[in-house]
């Protein structure tokens, strides 16, 4: 079983700062991390490899620094990593991103056919969740999104639990297929020491656009992106309301009065 996991390097949105004057992202001092969903995807692929044998590869598109997320994946237990890095890829929206990643996947599969592609449910920076289904469409394999459990794996098909708005669907798909991973699928394990050693010195295979085959440059990067970011602005401020005044008792009395007056009390104790 050969699984390829797409891993993206993202700024840690927990510590992100926005310049209030320009409404742009202040990247200074913001650490870059592996997209958390992608880390769970690598972990899940490693679990499957332990049970069923095979190989886990990871693929990332980004600047040379994105090597860090490939090293992180090797720590978790991936066997090999590919980084596609070229100025021509820069400024890609999801359509152009799925195109570039698909070209790399096609190249990888020439030497080592792919049974499953894993993506994260979404990346925490762009946050669209559109890249996975885009790759699947381009590779002409079925996408199954929002996977919270892989319940069965054979050489011809997989059974999956797909999270819905109000429950789960149990799905069977032929292989190859592409799935996108939810965090609840597993817990990231502590990296075994040998993996950490391997990761330190690991150098991924790096491909520029010239290494990829049959590439239509017009579909790459900014040029190949139908969407453009127009303006950035601060989220609309909501209008504040009434401040109640006085001691806690007095404020609560006022509150009860307005709830009565506005006939909101009948919502209480309905359920």
């Amino acid at each position: 079983m050969h699984i390829v996991v797409c891993v993206k390097q993202v700024p840690d949105t927990k510590v992100i700062k926005i310049n209030p004057k320009t409404n742009t992202l202040d990247r200074r001092g913001v650490p870059s991390i592996i997209n958390p969903y992608d880390a769970h995807a690598v972990q899940e692929a490693v679990h499957l490899k332990r049970q069923h044998g095979g190989k886990v590869s990871v693929l990332s598109m980004g600047p040379p620094q994105a090597t860090a997320v490939i090293k992180k994946s090797i720590e978790i237990g991936a066997d090999e990593g590919y980084l596609i890095s070229d100025r021509a890829f820069a400024g890609a929206d999801t359509l152009a991103t799925s195109y570039a990643l698909t070209k790399a996947l096609e190249k990888i599969s020439k030497t080592s056919p792919i049974d499953m592609v894993f993506c994260g449910k979404h990346a925490i920076d762009g946050d669209t969740g559109q890249v996975g289904p885009g790759i699947a469409k381009r590779l002409d394999i079925p996408p199954i999104t929002n996977i919270s459990a892989i319940t069965k794996v054979t050489k011809d098909y997989v059974e999956l639990q797909r999270k819905l708005q109000d429950g789960y669907a149990h799905i069977r798909s032929t292989l190859p297929c592409l799935i996108t991973i939810e965090k609840e699928i597993n817990e990231i394990e502590y990296a075994p020491f040998p993996n950490m050693l391997k990761a330190v010195n690991y150098q991924p295979v790096v491909w520029s656009i010239d290494h990829l085959e049959d590439v239509d440059r017009k579909q790459l990067g900014l040029k190949g992106s139908p969407t453009v970011v127009g303006k950035m602005f601060a989220p609309p401020k909501q209008e504040g309301g009434h401040r109640l005044e006085g001691t806690p008792e007095e404020q609560v009395v006022q509150l009860v009065e307005v709830l009565k007056e506005k006939q909101y009390l009948f919502h209480f104790n309905k359920g």
Binding site: P142, K163, M232, P248
Partner: protein
């Protein structure tokens, strides 16, 4: 891109045999765009035995309903839905397509965008239109909600967006509205489809009903400790409310993640929302600011939660909440006496 792209479509998602709330909301938003651009608004309905549901779409604002009613569309799967939507979009060339940002809506929209080689804006919370250039202005929170970005798709058609549930408003249904229904066929056999839905299990993932709650009491990190957080439960029990929590309260393990309200939790729109010891970070308020009445208790008079609150109480929640519980208990007892009298 050609001049012939015309009309605004809404992907009408079917859940449990009825049109999803978000699709009705999108008809409301779509109606406004369609009137501005002077084009018809259509609902697109795919499924098995769903033809009658067109009767739900027209009263909510659709001028047209496109239908493919076929057994292979029984439960949502990307392959047959993509084939159906792709066929309709190529035949009738709409200018704009809107989808709910639900698991299935996002899935189908992403696949179609790649199929039609067009742009797709994700998870929008605001929609506008540049009438002169016929451009959809789809705005979405970015970088963890710290900023809004307007995304445009200038040269490709259709322009597409997924839109968060519960941010647009559905119209009051007008049963007298008339519309046109168009049916198409899907030439796809079950045997060609590579995925099978073995079973659908309703609800076990969500033991907490935040989405349907009329009243929510949400506690934040300001409660101080797990014991004081019990006051949140007590208040909720007193008035029959559901309990919510901020991410920080969840991370402190005072409450489980399925109670979390906000960007990475639930989006809720109850009649009454109590935010207690909640600072009002944007990632929290995106999930609750459309509640009808918001009551905040915070000891910091400058806390941002007061910017979204209808009524604000400045004070220590550990003192105020017990007073509130007592007041509501008395009130409800009085009401009971009155209603039994």
């Amino acid at each position: 891109m050609s001049e012939e792209h015309r009309g605004i479509w809404v992907f009408a998602e079917v859940i449990d045999g009825a049109i999803a709330g978000v699709s009705l909301e999108l008809l409301g938003a779509g109606r406004e765009l369609a009137d501005k651009l002077d084009v018809p608004l259509a609902g697109v309905l795919l499924g098995e035995n769903i033809t009658h549901l067109s009767e739900q779409l027209i009263p909510y604002g659709a001028d047209e309903v496109y239908i493919i009613d076929d057994p292979v569309l029984k439960d949502y799967r990307t392959e047959p839905f993509l084939a159906g939507m792709g066929k309709l979009a190529r035949m009738y060339v709409p200018e704009i397509i809107l989808y709910g940002a639900t698991p299935n809506g996002k899935d189908i929209a992403s696949a179609i965008a790649t199929d039609l080689k067009t742009g797709l804006t994700a998870d929008c919370t605001m929609l506008g239109v540049d009438i002169e250039n016929r451009l959809l202005e789809a705005s979405r929170p970015a970088f963890g909600g710290n900023i809004m970005a307007t995304i445009l798709c200038k040269k490709h058609r259709p322009q597409m967006a997924t839109v968060r549930p519960k941010v647009m408003k559905a119209l009051q249904p007008d049963p007298a509205r008339k519309g046109m229904v168009l049916k198409e066929k899907l030439e796809m056999k079950e045997a060609e489809i590579r995925t099978k839905v073995l079973e659908i299990i309703k609800g076990p993932g969500k033991s907490v009903d935040l989405e349907g709650a009329d009243v929510i009491v949400c506690g934040g990190k300001g409660m101080g400790d797990e014991q004081a957080f019990q006051l949140i439960h007590q208040l909720a029990d007193t008035i029959g409310a559901s309990v919510g929590g901020t991410r920080d309260a969840v991370e402190a393990r005072w409450i489980s993640h399925d109670h979390q309200v906000g960007q990475t939790g639930e989006t809720v729109t109850p009649k009454i929302y109590f935010a207690i010891g909640v600072s009002g970070a944007i990632q929290h308020t995106v999930g609750m600011k459309n509640s009808e009445l918001i009551i905040a208790i915070n000891k910091d008079p400058d806390a941002p939660i007061f910017d979204v609150a209808t009524y604000g109480i400045v004070g220590d929640a550990r003192e105020t909440v017990p007073v509130m519980i007592k007041a509501f208990e008395e009130l409800l007892r009085e009401n009971e006496v009155i209603s039994h009298a």
